[in-house]
């Protein structure tokens, strides 16, 4: 049977009573930049009637996830903020003290505060805090450095344990940016393009892309590829649904990924399964690398790894041999970031990709093509200083070259001021790579006031208390109470904004603004797509509009061009200059075609397209994939990989393991929400109404826990409540908990407040300050005294706050990573039920 479709329709067309706008989705609401095709049906009153998937999109082909399907319920949600509002700082926490103001008043207030704090205490006393996934989130450095004039942009996750640790390794070990599963997204006719071949083997390692769509990878492409013959290897402690379709599933102990990767390398090297030609021509330090893998003490064998990872040794051999048996592609995820040993795990996985010849081949790992250096001429040799701006940045050449939407303010900033970035002295690589304050050092600063007090804050598209990101949110909560003034940009009042916000600027959602969706933030040859504005709502503005307007209002020089005029005329001009660039067309033209497929030049290391000087090779000091990493060595890290046991494992700390006998892991994704968002979208909340913990039946029996019963988990840092799902998908002794939970239908007002911790005082918890020397690194763990776990108010943000049990400062030598996925806890059953009342949710939030 044939059906009607809208193939070939223009970006805007009429159908019956509706104007249909074809668009590509990003955020808000939060999501990663896939650019899923939508058709937004707008009625005669300019209101969204419904949303459908756009079959014109070459990748999604009309498919759509639940969050886009429910877009209407987000856009018109009764609790959405659509006007600027302010509140007296003395009324923080009180939901009924917000008053509506105009944008002009809002900008004037920001200027008054910014000027006061800058002139009285120095611009560094201001900080902009951001979250993940959002189109505005990647503008945080610009908001801080270009708009406000402070160096302190901060994504509050301990060790920036999300994507950046991998990015850093990509830049320094591989010398190319972000090797991703090749799903033919950038090729005409995708899977049927003659240049393409389906991967023989796909590996999902610490990643479940069907739900996460990490950084723009359309997760269900994995299903498309499996139907076309790709085999699947899953490396994951849990048996998620995708694992049940895998040819090999390695259920490793949380936090032991480096051991596993080293073991695969041991098999592949010693059984001579690697690509000799690629190693000989394009790798540096292979002999030293092999010597480390085979080293009796610091190296790894499959047998040793089987013991460490607690898996059958046959699984390791099977996985490694299958991986090396053809063209293979690894989709690698947060397990590489949320680990103190993550920089080594990443080093190893990049080595696997390289020595097996899978880098930049069809069906392998696609990487970004970068621009030639300014002044490059064909046929002429040129000298390029990789440390400087030609390649894009200080010490982060490959990532900056691949993501040409430059961070506007960092380079323009006075070097003395830049040097004041929190954490710069302790973690220079981190700060230089990301242009952010190091998050654990920022936690210290807000809690203790050292090296200086943060006085003005900007909560920019983050719900950091909820949280998905920060560790020890109690500490953030107590510390950020010391902010003298705080502004926020978001679509809803979150617990974070309710707690600290004195001004909120309402953000435009994806349906209400123009934008360009960049897969991997432009660092991958897949697509660039137009988010086309469909409707107006209240007085909302987009992040980009705020950047331009507020930047001008505050007199930012970094946002002026050489003539002293506005660098960006308006939102569409910003998009043309900064985001649509690789398409070679202005935004208006991209709008017409909606999706631009970037095309892929494979084997760029042979043709010079990975380097601005166009010399064949990779963008590293040696020009090769640095299996022996010169950058790691330069920054004081071991240039070769090694395994390090997780800090909270039974092997590292047996006494702790007795108190807290369950290994806990977090971060598994859900279709129903993007981290802490969507809690107030009733149709989505209905899919997954309560925060859950997965417990093996043996453990449930021992602890006397029934399926569906509520439990409390705890450790030295905090406690939280979850609803038990008794299931064999976790191994005995390991549990998995949801993150990012707050309950917008609950009470807002914080009417039970503990004593405010005076600035400079590091408090203790349970009379114990944990100062531990571990592997030569001193761990400082400052706890906050107050236990907020049963506190009413702030929309129940302390009831099921798993990150409360995760401490700061358990980072790698380079300042990355945190123990979100390999920690420990105790569990006790509760008599009370905290089940969500869906009728209450529907009552409050149905449109």
């Amino acid at each position: 049977m044939e059906f009607k479709n809208d193939l070939g329709k223009p970006w805007k067309f009429e159908e019956g009573d509706f104007t249909v706008v074809r668009s590509a989705m990003w955020s808000p609401p939060g999501c990663h930049p896939v650019g899923c095709g939508v058709k937004i049906y707008v009625d005669k009153d300019g209101v969204i009637d419904h949303v459908e998937g756009d079959e014109n999109n070459p990748i999604t082909k009309g498919r759509l996830c639940v969050r886009c399907l429910a877009l209407k319920d987000y856009v018109y949600n009764p609790s959405r903020v659509i006007y600027p509002m302010k509140r007296d700082p003395k009324d923080r926490g009180k939901h009924d003290k917000w008053e509506r103001i105009t944008w002009d008043e809002a900008y004037a207030l920001i200027k008054e505060k910014r000027d006061y704090f800058r002139d009285t205490y120095g611009p560094e006393c201001m900080a902009v805090f951001s979250g993940t996934g959002r189109s505005g989130g990647i503008l945080v450095a610009d908001m801080a450095q270009a708009v406000l004039g402070t160096p302190n942009a901060c994504y509050t996750q301990s060790g920036y344990a999300c994507y950046q640790p991998r990015s850093m390794s990509c830049s320094h070990v591989l010398g190319a940016y972000y090797p991703e599963l090749d799903y033919a997204g950038g090729l005409q006719n995708t899977y049927d393009n003659p240049t393409y071949r389906v991967p023989d083997v796909i590996v999902c390692w610490g990643k479940m892309p069907l739900a996460s769509n990490g950084d723009g990878l359309f997760g269900h492409a994995v299903i498309d590829l499996m139907k076309r013959g790709s085999k699947l290897i899953m490396v994951d402690p849990r048996v998620n649904w995708l694992c049940t379709r895998a040819d090999v599933h390695v259920r490793l102990r949380p936090g032991t990924d480096t051991a596993m990767a080293m073991a695969w390398l041991s098999v592949i090297i010693n059984e001579d399964l690697y690509d000799h030609q690629f190693v000989e021509y394009w790798c540096y330090g292979f002999n030293e690398f092999v010597a480390r893998i085979n080293d009796p003490e610091m190296g790894m064998t499959p047998e040793k790894a089987a013991e460490i990872c607690e898996v059958p040794v046959e699984d390791i051999y099977a996985a490694a041999r299958l991986y090396a048996s053809g063209v293979s592609s690894i989709a690698w995820g947060l397990a590489f970031d949320q680990n103190q040993n993550g920089n080594q795990a990443a080093h190893c996985v990049l080595a696997l990709m390289a020595i097996c010849g899978n880098v930049d081949v069809p069906g392998g790992q696609i990487i970004a093509e970068i621009d030639a250096a300014p002044g490059f001429e064909e046929g002429k040799k040129m000298e390029v200083n990789l440390d400087k701006a030609d390649a894009g940045a200080d010490g982060n050449a490959a990532e900056d070259a691949a993501r040409p939407q430059r961070r506007i303010g960092w380079d323009a900033m006075d070097p003395e001021l830049r040097a004041k970035t929190i954490g710069y002295a302790e973690y220079p690589l981190y700060v230089d790579n990301i242009r952010n304050a190091q998050s654990d050092m920022m936690w210290d600063a807000v809690v203790s006031g050292k090296p200086y007090q943060i006085r003005m804050g900007w909560i920019q598209s983050t719900n950091l208390l909820a949280p998905s990101c920060c560790a020890q949110p109690q500490g953030w909560y107590e510390g950020l109470k010391n902010l003298e003034w705080c502004m926020a940009t978001d679509c809803f009042i979150t617990p974070t904004i309710e707690a600290f916000g004195d001004l909120i600027l309402p953000l435009a959602s994806c349906a209400e603004k123009d934008d360009v969706v960049m897969t991997h933030y432009a660092g991958s040859p897949v697509t660039l797509a137009a988010c086309n504005k469909a409707v107006d709502v209240g007085e909302v503005k987009s992040d980009i509009t705020i950047l331009i307007e507020l930047g001008e209002y505050l007199g930012s020089d970094a946002l002026k061009n050489e003539k002293g005029e506005r660098m960006f005329k308006d939102e569409d001009d910003f998009l043309t200059q900064r985001r649509a660039k690789p398409t070679g067309m202005p935004f208006e033209d991209l709008r017409d075609i909606v999706v631009f497929q970037r095309g892929v030049n494979y084997r760029k290391y042979e043709t010079g397209l990975l380097r601005p000087d166009r010399v064949p090779g990779f963008l590293t000091p040696t020009g090769r994939v640095e299996l022996w990493s010169t950058a790691y060595a330069q920054y004081g890290e071991d240039p070769l990989p090694y395994y390090r046991e997780p800090a909270f494992s039974p092997h590292t700390n047996p006494a702790l393991a007795e108190k807290y006998p369950y290994i806990f892991t977090t971060g598994a994704r859900n279709y129903a929400s993007f981290h802490s968002e969507h809690r107030q979208i009733a149709v989505l909340r209905e899919l997954h109404p309560d925060p859950i913990i997965e417990i093996h039946p043996d453990d449930a029996a021992r602890e006397n826990i029934a399926n569906g019963q509520w439990v409390e988990v705890s450790n030295d840092y905090g406690r939280a409540k979850f609803k038990a799902v008794v299931s064999v998908i976790v191994k005995p002794g390991t549990v998995q908990m949801d993150h990012g939970w707050w309950f917008p239908e609950r009470q807002a007002d914080d009417d039970s407040r503990d004593e405010i911790i005076p600035v400079g005082e590091i408090a203790t918890f349970n009379d114990e300050v944990l100062d531990v020397a571990m592997n030569g690194t001193e761990i400082r763990a400052a706890h906050v005294h107050s236990d907020h776990a049963d506190e009413p108010g702030l929309y129940g943000v302390w009831i099921s706050n798993v990150n409360d049990m995760v401490p700061n400062h358990y980072n790698s030598h380079l300042g990355y990573g945190g123990p979100y996925k390999c920690n420990c806890c105790a569990i006790k059953p509760l008599k009370e039920s905290y089940d969500t009342d869906m009728r209450l949710v529907a009552e409050k939030f149905d449109i």
Binding site: E2, C65, A70, T244, E686, V728
Partner: protein, 154 residues
């Protein structure tokens, strides 16, 4: 009498629930009501061969409810049911019972549902001929009307 069917390939249903929400949004269904729901068979361990992977049974199976009318309004406009259109795994199909039954025979781990007595006349619905052994012996009868692709609007 049912004329049309949903064919679901549950080897590939990932449990994304796009069908569930697409249906609710299309038909304005409130909390507590559904036109299609995803049921889990699993996870449970079938054998001790492996620690995970294919030793586990876990099938997610979308099942239309009594409230499913096969998107009669959309069908009248010539469009597919919304669950089929939006399925992230492309594991749902819609057509006449005969057409879908023939596809059912092509691979295992599929299920055919005839949710309701929707008997709307759709273009092309009567064109499908079930291949039989007799058909192999001689030329297949030509359909009376060659199906035409829908005209594209400018």
């Amino acid at each position: 009498m049912p004329k049309y069917a949903l064919l679901i390939d549950y080897e590939y249903c990932t449990g994304c629930e796009s069908c569930v929400v697409a249906c609710k949004m299309e038909h304005d269904m409130p909390i507590g009501k559904w036109g299609i729901r995803v049921h889990d068979d699993g996870p449970w361990q079938m054998n001790e061969e492996h620690e995970g992977g294919k030793s586990f049974n876990w099938n997610k199976i979308p099942v239309p409810t009594d409230m499913c009318d096969l998107c009669a309004d959309r069908l009248a406009e010539g469009k597919k049911p919304t669950c089929v259109h939006h399925c992230l795994a492309f594991c749902m199909d819609f057509g006449t019972i005969a057409e879908m039954a023939a596809k059912l025979a092509e691979k295992p781990k599929q299920v055919l549902f005839a949710p309701c007595d929707c008997d709307i006349d759709l273009p092309g619905a009567d064109d499908f001929v079930i291949p039989t052994a007799k058909a192999a012996a001689g030329p297949r009868p030509r359909p009376k009307m060659a199906p035409k692709p829908p005209a594209l609007r400018a």
